[in-house]
Symmetry: C3
Subunit: 463 residues, 3 copies
């Protein structure tokens, strides 16, 4: 069975129409906020701010750039591991992230930042970080579908994914007043179940036909390590980027640094333990080493203590690697969920762990540990939730986790149904995981330079 | 025809002589500025500065490091796309950038930072950023000559390029008082026309003899994406690195972030539209996605508005991709300009667009949008230009663009003539784009490990 | 001779036991410091600090992230240059660094940061930087053993290396009061001689049996350039990360930037000079270009002047490249020291140069250059060393260098002896430099996709 994978009309149409829509909507809705507007100089005087350094830019910009690298190089290169889908891995990641951040600025703006005076969204550096965060959810979902969908489908997945994300985030952060600085629930849990459900609906029973491409080669595995390492190194910035100024950001970095270090050791240990001669598996090293960062997403700001962080990393590294070993094959066979990048092991389970850890840590917070003001600051116990107790906070954290899962499953079902329509130019089973379908691929090295040498050698060997 | 490409005397001689010259000139002219000298502690007290954070270092260093990555990894890896010129792409980029930044500190210092008390150049973090910027112009020119010149020629190209840059920059920024924070005119337009003119003069009618190397292979295209992404991600830092403290830097980041996102979508769209089955071309994705950043170089600091930024990215992504499709072949055939990296599409046209956008945005600035103080601050309407109106500013911006083009063309003609002398060890036509000429290249993978396996297979298949 | 390289029990056992030990020790000893604790808000009020920006986090975090990239991507990818040991190069680097930073937080904490009130180690961002620094010493030693040891041996090397480092650092910095901001002595000299001595003890007379793997291929050399460039670009952050706030950090960046630029030119020059046709050698470009950064590690904070920095880079680039050309072969043949990554040329000699430069610069410091307060500040002439003169300081710097070398040699002898025990699962001579031993390596590209094409071609060519 061959499929029509010609996207010469559909992809440009989607790109142009959506980009023009963005321009119009930005024209109507989006303006600079106080700190990025030329009126900052007056604003500064009015608020009696003595130095330009108090501009939020200087608190957030270094973290923002790290997050930006995680989104484009981290996620992008992590998905180059397939032997013949590196262009698609890094290229489509680039496309949908670039679209997604624009749509996220609007969606998150409408829900969180709409100025009630003039109905404008006022953007600054924190909005850019949040837009990157929002897109991360969709990139996780892309990981599940890697190699099996067309770029047009990915654009649709992103359009709906960002929309769902903004609603879910609004419920969790602003209705439930749950805390989720690094997005264990909002980003990772939602993204994973959104992607898994879509993947379930797009189930391809004959995918094994393309199996010879569904693996890595030596150099593609090294490329993927670029993604792994930039994610791993910059995860402290991810979890601290929108944490509270001062001790909040500082603590989030320490906790994430420690939990990541711990999950590296247990990922290596379980990987080695699982193979006949103790040989390590690159899939585990590329992915499960990151589980600690996901699992620390909610509690990063809290006083979880340094050893608490190590324990979280310890457990999530083990759970994630075991997931690759046992759960992924089980889910493919029994539940008919084929997810290329193992996102359930890297984002799903660690995300749920992170949500639970966050709820427990919140529920067990106390004034003796946090200090009276510290407790109020950390959990923002003011205004509508001024009288909330920590145990109630813990309950709301748990409720937030349920909302994230529910949105992932329901949203994935909806979007999966849409993506199943036979109009999107997705590849046939036999052509999955092959860049040839959507890219002009250069002639192979082996057909080109060295090929002639091979032929020469052949002549020699057959003479 | 074979050429003498032995650079065993010339390259070391140039490196040693120039490095020694740098040491002597630095010894005579270069000292630490007030903020990097141990006298800072006294200076701080004298100026009543309360905190070390007010040291410019903390405003600029994160952006500096991002710019540094763009120069060495961004430009360097973008030029690894050729199948057998990756060593030269990233290696010579490294060499000439390392030389160029030293010479730029001197040249820019003499023109902009010479202390009239003691005739010393006082350097600090902003000088390092400007030196990196200055070198960017020469790296763009290198892109035009990639694979066709010797490292000695590149050193000469850089020596003259930096010199011309410093003069041109002085005229545009300090005589015309034009604004160009991200260097659309000063860096990109100048660099592109400088490189194109050199390339025209070094025209090789028989270059097609080496055509089998003038393309990419699968993995070299993935390597080039490392360059693309680091350029793309850090471009907001490039355009904001020397912008005004506070809202200036903040706004430059927002504008550049948006314009880059927009140019990704139109680059993908036009790339897909241009091919039979809508397949994407890696050359476009690697380059045209960046056009937005170039085109926002002048106006990044201005109140161009978020949707204005999206429009600029929209147009420059289209123009740049169309350039690759139609203009590059035309220029090679008709104008006899062979430029390996398509710099006219990535830096030339978007740079000109950026200059024009800057002039228009400046000319249409108003107190109602900027605020009275904001307008003065943004355009530095003080001292010699205290009474300048925005329309006059717009005119001077346009004049600046003309100066950049003129310096590129005239400087390129001069330097091209010098580089045409038959003394520089440049490769023969048949050896262009081949690392073998200037590098000890390891034996090929295919001749080595797998080769034996091939031979084995041959034996099997012929038995 | 075959060896038992099965690490299925030993590697997981070491990882689990050591990670659990870390958790217990962190539980007993490690807490947040004042600036990362929720009590910061009270602390701030008590100390009359007006802004969150005065939290050390904002002074140090950008530099920390750069150092983090150097440790994991810089060192990791620099070690991917071998044709079939890229997994091990980047993967084991990841493993031992992740373990090492935890152990370093404890060891350095006990020696430097133990709170005498409650016997807790209070950690903040500076501890994270120091932990990364500490691990760098072990990664240098890993470079000497690359491809010849098992991951279990590397874990042992790291455990002892970090321990020795903390003691040596305590003696040099806190007993001798020597200054070493970028660790020329403490990190590079110690790490190099530690690794070289281990390598000497693990001498393999028949290593030449595996020589066909002890080289690079085209793409592995390009991968290694990723490591080189990230080390090169971020070295200014390395040398300034824990320098004094304000002018100290600022000056360290300028000095390191210049010295690195200078060593690039002389490394290229000597590399070209050494080959028949002036062809450049990737090994030199990947390594000797970095020598300037190592050699500026001690004096980075001092008023060495910009031209002084250029001179240091000039010399160290030459010495390092000459080391690769003459010293490495000599040491292998005569001294029986086989060190894969040439660490003596990149870290050993430049580290010693750095220590000497530091001693001379300190000894020749004067109030006329530094200012009265500047001199006291830069060398911390207060408390126990309030009356120290600069010549005494110079002497103590030189003493520090001797301590670093002594610890490297003695520690290496001890640990080398331990690692020689036949229980660690190290590879046989014939299997050195081969990822197959410890990794599940994907089937080769050439055996897979293109292989079939080769076979087809064979059929054609033999018909």
């Amino acid at each position: 069975m061959t499929k029509n994978t010609n996207i010469r009309i559909s992809l440009p149409a989607v790109c142009f129409v959506w980009q023009i829509a963005m321009i119009i909507l930005f024209g109507v809705f989006v303006r600079y906020d106080e700190e990025s507007d030329t009126h900052w100089i007056e604003h500064k005087r009015r608020k009696n701010i003595s130095t330009n350094l108090e501009n939020d830019f200087y608190y957030r910009y270094p973290s923002f750039q790290d997050v930006h690298v995680m989104i484009f190089v981290g996620f992008g290169f992590l998905m180059t591991f397939l032997k013949r889908y590196s262009f698609g891995g890094v290229g489509f990641n680039f496309l949908i992230a670039a679209f997604g951040i624009q749509w996220a600025l609007l969606m998150q703006g409408w829900f969180h930042h709409l100025d009630s005076d003039d109905w404008k969204i006022k953007i600054g550096i924190e909005n850019l970080i949040n837009a990157d965060f929002c897109v991360a959810g969709c990139l996780i979902a892309y990981g599940a579908c890697l190699g099996k969908v067309s770029p047009v489908q990915l654009m649709v997945l992103t359009l709906f994914g960002v929309t769902l994300f903004a609603v879910e985030e609004y419920i969790i952060l602003e209705l439930l007043y749950a805390k989720d600085a690094g997005g264990s629930m909002v980003i990772h849990t939602f993204g994973a179940y959104y992607g898994l459900t879509i993947s379930r609906i797009l189930y391809r029973p004959l995918l094994s036909q393309s199996k010879n491409y569904q693996g890595s080669v030596y150099h593609s595995d090294v490329f993927a390590m670029i993604g792994t390492l930039f994610l791993w190194m910059f995860w402290p910035s991810f979890n601290s980027a929108i944490a509270d100024h001062g001790d909040g950001q500082h603590r989030a970095v320490i906790n994430t640094y420690l939990t990541l270090a711990s999950s590296v050791l247990t990922a290596f240990a379980v990987s080695s333990l699982s193979q006949k001669h103790g040989k390590l598996d690159m899939v585990h090293i590329q992915n499960a080493t990151l589980a600690g960062g996901v699992a620390m997403g909610t509690a990063a700001e809290f006083m979880i203590t340094p050893y608490g962080s190590l324990i979280v990393g310890f457990c999530s590294g083990i759970v994630s690697t075991l997931g690759y070993l046992y759960l992924t094959p089980f889910m493919e066979k029994t539940l008919k969920i084929q997810y290329t990048c193992g996102i359930h092991n890297l984002h799903g389970m660690p995300g749920v762990i992170g949500g639970i850890v966050g709820a427990i840590t919140a529920a067990s917070a106390s004034e003796s540990v946090y200090g009276k003001e510290g407790l109020i600051n950390t959990f923002d116990f003011k205004d509508a939730v001024a009288n909330r107790t920590v145990s109630i906070q813990g309950g709301h954290q748990a409720a937030g986790l349920c909302v994230a899962i529910a949105f992932g499953l329901a949203g994935g079902a909806l979007v999966g149904g849409i993506l199943k329509l036979p109009i999107w130019g997705d590849p046939a089973d036999a052509n999955c995981f092959d860049d040839e379908v959507y890219w002009e691929v250069p002639e192979d090295e082996d057909e080109n330079i060295p090929a002639s040498r091979h032929l020469d050698m052949n002549h020699i060997s057959t003479k």
